[in-house]
C-alpha cells in the first residue's frame, strides 16, 4: 500500500492538501485538508453592514465578485429590501461575465493539461488537426496555419533547456489517451481562450468600474447612474461596448469550449464511471428577473442519493427548508465546539491539533444539509435543472451528451453525469447556458431602461434590535451563502459558507466524508509517483481553497510525496 500526499505548496501555509491511501492500484481512503485558518469572517463583526461587501470581496482573490454579491444580498435579505430591476440585471450581467471568465480559465488554463499530452504535439499533423476541428464546429480559428503556428511554439519550447509552463506536466503518462491531433487542437484553443476570458472579464470591468474588486455595488442596488445620453453614466455607448463583447464571447463558448469539453469527454468515456462520490446535490436559484428576487432564470433545488426524480426545488433566500437546513460540523475541523451549528449561531474559535487521520485534520468546517454532505457546483446546477425539466438546461445538456456519445461511439446518458467527467462537462454546459442568458439579460436591461426606468438603488434603513439574513449566489464553484446577524445596524455575526467548504469538507460527527474525499475513493492510480488521476478528480471540482493567503515562494515547491506503507 502507498500513501500519496499532494501538498502543492509545502513551504507556504494555506492550501489544499490531499492524502490518499492507494491499495491494489486504487484509492481506498482519502482526506481533504485545508492547511490555513479560514476565520476571515471574524474581521466583519462590529462593522457597518453597508460596507461589509468591500471586505468580503477580499476573502478570496479569485472569486472577489461572488463574495461581494452574496454579502449585499445577505444584508438586503435581513432588511427585506427589494432591489430595482435595473440593478438585478446589471448584477446578473456581472455574475455571468465573471462565471464565463472563470469557467473558461478553469477548463483551458487550470485543468486541460491533465488530459492533453503536450509531449505528443510534435507528432500531430496540423492539416488533420484542422479537419478534426472542422468536424466538431464552424469556428473560424481552426485553420491548418493556426495549428501549425502553435505546434511550432510547442516544438521550440520542448527543444529548449527550459520547458517553461510545461516543465512539470505528466507527459507521456499512461492515462493520457488523446490522438496527437486532438492534443494540438486543444492547445491551440488554450491560447485562443486567453483572449476570450479577458473579454468576459471586461464585461465585469465596465459594469463594475474595476476588476478585480468591483466598485459599483451597494446594499439596495448598484451605484451605476443610468442615462442613455450622459457621458458620465451607464449610457448607450457603454451598453453597446458590452453587447459587442458578449457577441464575441458567445460563439467562443458555443463553438469552441463546449465542443472541446465534449471531445475530451468522448475520448475518455471511462471517466464517466470514476469519481461519483457524494450523490447528494445542492444548488440555489440565481439570475433573479424581478426586484423581489421571486423568479430566476437558473433554478435551484436539492437531489438526495442521486435520485433525480426526487428533486426538491429551492425557491430563493426565503426558502424555509434552506434557511433551516444548513449547519456546519467541526468534529474533524480545527475548531472548538461540539455538534453541528447553524451559521447564524456559528462560532469560529480555533483549536489546532496536528493532522490526525481519525481526529481533526482540516481548517475547513463540514457543512451539512439536513445532516447530509452535499456536492455543489456546475454538476449540481445541471442535475437540479435537468430534473426539474428546465428547458435551457435540457437543451444544452442533451446537445452536449449527443456530441459526447457520437465521439465515444456509444450512448452516454444523463445518468453517467454523476462522475469526474460529468463535472467537467457540466461546467461547459453551464457556460453554454450562461452565454445564451448574457444576450437575454442585456436585452432586458436595455428594454427596461428604454421604458423610462432609470432607478438602480433603494435606500436601506436599519431597524432597532436584531435581524438575520442570508445572501445566496450560485457561484462558478457552486452554492455560496453569506449569513448575517445585524443588531441595531451593526454586524454581530457573519459566516460565509463557501462552495469549496461544501465540497472539500472533512468527515462529520457521523464519520461521513465530504465530496472530494468520497469521490477519490476508487479512483485508479497507475503510478503513485505521478498521481495524475487524483489531480483529475480534484480539479473536476475546481478547488478554490485558500481564500486568502498568498505569498510568492521563490525557492520552489513540491507536488506529491509518496510514502509506501
Amino acid at each position: 500500500m502507498a500513501r500519496i500526499s499532494i501538498d502543492p505548496v509545502t513551504r507556504i501555509e494555506g492550501h489544499l492538501r490531499i492524502d490518499a491511501e492507494v491499495d491494489g492500484g486504487k484509492v481506498s481512503r482519502a482526506w481533504a485538508s485545508c492547511t490555513m485558518w479560514r476565520g476571515i469572517e471574524t474581521i466583519l463583526r462590529g462593522r457597518d453592514p453597508r460596507e461589509a461587501w468591500v471586505f468580503a470581496q477580499r476573502f478570496c482573490g479569485v472569486c472577489t465578485t461572488v463574495h461581494a454579491m452574496a454579502s449585499v444580498r445577505a444584508v438586503e435579505d435581513a432588511l427585506s429590501l427589494d432591489v430595482p430591476l435595473n440593478a438585478q440585471l446589471i448584477r446578473n450581467l456581472i455574475l455571468i461575465g465573471h462565471a464565463l471568465h472563470d469557467h473558461i480559465v478553469h477548463f483551458y488554463h487550470l485543468s486541460a493539461l491533465d488530459w492533453v499530452d503536450v509531449a505528443a504535439i510534435p507528432r500531430a499533423d496540423p492539416t488533420k488537426a484542422a479537419a478534426i476541428a472542422a468536424s466538431l464546429s464552424d469556428w473560424p480559428g481552426n485553420s491548418p496555419q493556426e495549428m501549425k503556428k502553435v505546434q511550432g511554439k510547442v516544438v521550440a519550447l520542448l527543444q529548449s533547456t527550459q520547458l517553461g509552463i510545461f516543465a512539470n506536466g505528466y507527459w507521456g503518462h499512461p492515462a493520457m489517451k488523446l490522438p496527437p491531433e486532438v492534443n494540438l487542437l486543444a492547445l491551440t484553443h488554450y491560447f485562443q481562450a486567453l483572449e476570450f476570458q479577458r473579454k468576459a472579464n471586461q464585461v465585469v470591468a465596465i459594469l463594475g468600474a474595476k476588476t478585480p474588486h468591483i466598485q459599483n455595488l451597494a446594499v439596495g442596488g448598484v451605484m451605476n447612474a443610468i442615462n442613455f445620453d450622459s457621458l458620465a453614466t451607464l449610457n448607450l455607448d457603454r451598453l453597446y461596448m458590452i453587447k459587442t463583447l458578449i457577441d464575441e464571447i458567445v460563439p467562443f463558448v458555443h463553438q469552441v469550449y463546449l465542443p472541446d469539453a465534449c471531445a475530451i469527454a468522448g475520448f475518455y468515456p471511462e471517466w464517466f464511471a470514476i469519481g461519483g462520490g457524494v450523490r447528494n446535490y445542492l444548488a440555489v436559484p440565481d439570475l433573479p428577473v424581478d426586484g423581489k428576487a421571486s423568479a430566476f432564470d437558473l433554478p435551484g433545488g436539492r437531489i438526495m442519493a442521486g435520485e433525480l426524480a426526487g428533486v426538491v426545488p429551492i425557491t430563493g433566500s426565503r426558502d424555509a427548508a434552506f434557511r433551516k437546513g444548513v449547519v456546519e460540523d467541526v468534529t474533524h475541523a480545527w475548531y472548538k465546539g461540539r455538534g453541528p451549528q447553524h451559521p447564524w449561531q456559528g462560532e469560529t474559535d480555533p483549536d489546532y491539533t496536528d493532522f490526525q487521520d481519525d481526529g481533526k485534520y482540516s481548517w475547513v468546517k463540514a457543512p451539512r444539509f439536513d445532516g447530509k454532505p452535499m456536492q455543489v457546483g456546475p454538476l449540481a446546477n445541471v442535475l437540479v435543472g435537468y430534473a426539474q425539466q428546465h428547458a435551457l438546461t435540457r437543451k444544452w445538456t442533451d446537445d452536449a451528451l449527443g456530441r459526447v456519445s457520437k465521439i465515444a461511439g456509444r450512448p452516454i446518458g444523463v445518468d453517467r453525469m454523476q462522475s469526474t467527467m460529468g463535472r467537467y462537462l457540466s461546467r461547459a454546459i453551464r457556460s453554454a447556458m450562461l452565454a445564451e442568458l448574457a444576450t437575454n439579460h442585456w436585452e432586458r436591461l436595455v428594454d427596461n431602461i428604454s421604458k423610462g426606468d432609470s432607478t438602480s438603488y433603494n435606500i436601506p434603513s436599519f431597524p432597532k434590535g436584531a435581524v438575520e439574513g442570508v445572501g445566496l449566489h450560485e457561484a462558478p464553484r457552486g452554492t455560496l451563502s453569506h449569513w448575517v446577524v445585524i443588531k441595531n445596524g451593526v454586524l454581530s455575526n457573519y459566516q460565509a459558507v463557501v462552495p469549496t467548504t461544501w465540497n472539500a469538507s472533512p468527515r462529520d460527527e457521523g464519520g461521513l466524508p465530504g465530496p472530494y474525499e468520497a469521490s477519490l475513493v476508487g479512483t485508479p492510480v497507475a503510478n503513485a509517483e505521478q498521481p495524475l488521476e487524483l489531480l483529475r478528480t480534484v480539479h473536476s471540482f475546481d478547488p478554490c481553497m485558500a481564500c486568502a493567503c498568498h505569498t510568492l515562494d521563490p525557492s520552489g515547491r513540491t507536488i506529491a510525496t509518496v510514502k509506501v506503507l
Binding site: P8, E13, V62, L194
Partner: protein
C-alpha cells in the same frame, strides 16, 4: 511603451498585503503619466495573465518567502522569475507569477520587461495593516519602483498635498 505596477497580496492578512500597500503608497505620493497604470490585484492566482496583457513592462510588488529576514527587500528580474519551478496546480490560488509570465510570453501578448520587488513578511495573521518592519520595507520598495519607472523614461511628479498615510483597509480596521 506602457507600464503597470502590480501589487499582489491579501490586504486582510497583515504583511501579505505588502504589494497592494506599496501600490497605494505610490498612488498617494506621486502623479504618474497615463501610460503608467497602478493595479492592486489582490491574490488573482493565474488570473494575473489577464492583467499582464497589453503592457510592455511590469513591476510586480509582492511578499516573498525564503529570502531573508522580515522586512528584507529583494528585486528579481523577469528571467529569474521564469526560471522558478512550476508544479501542477491544485487550486487556482497557488501563487502563479512565474506561470502567468510563462503563459503570456508563449502567447506573445505579455510584457517583455519584468521585475518583482519583494519583501519578506513578518506577520501574516488575520488583520489589516503592516508590521513595523514591513512598513519600513514599503518605503524602500516604493523608492525602488519609482526609480525603475523613471529609468524607463516616464516623468513622475510628487503630489503637493501630504500623502495619505493609511489605506482604506487600515483606516477602517484601526
Amino acid at each position: 511603451m506602457n507600464l503597470a505596477v502590480i501589487g499582489l497580496g491579501n490586504v486582510l492578512l497583515g504583511d501579505d498585503g505588502f504589494g497592494p500597500f506599496v501600490v497605494e503608497l505610490l498612488r498617494t505620493r506621486y502623479v504618474f503619466p497615463p501610460e503608467v497604470e497602478l493595479l492592486d490585484l489582490g491574490t488573482p492566482g493565474l488570473g494575473l495573465i489577464t492583467y499582464l496583457h497589453g503592457h510592455d513592462a511590469v513591476v510586480i510588488v509582492d511578499a516573498v518567502t525564503g529570502a531573508g529576514n522580515p522586512g528584507d527587500v529583494r528585486v528579481y528580474e523577469g528571467a529569474e522569475l521564469e526560471r522558478l519551478p512550476i508544479a501542477p496546480r491544485v487550486s487556482p490560488h497557488d501563487p502563479a507569477v512565474s506561470e502567468a509570465l510563462g503563459v503570456a510570453r508563449l502567447a506573445g501578448t505579455g510584457p517583455i520587461d519584468v521585475c518583482l520587488v519583494g519583501a519578506v513578511p513578518g506577520s501574516r495573521e488575520l488583520g489589516a495593516g503592516l508590521s513595523p518592519r514591513a512598513r519600513a520595507a514599503a518605503d524602500a520598495a516604493a523608492e525602488i519602483v519609482r526609480r525603475r519607472v523613471e529609468e524607463r523614461g516616464f516623468a513622475i511628479r510628487s503630489r503637493d498635498a501630504d500623502p495619505l498615510e493609511q489605506n482604506w483597509w487600515v483606516r477602517s480596521c484601526s
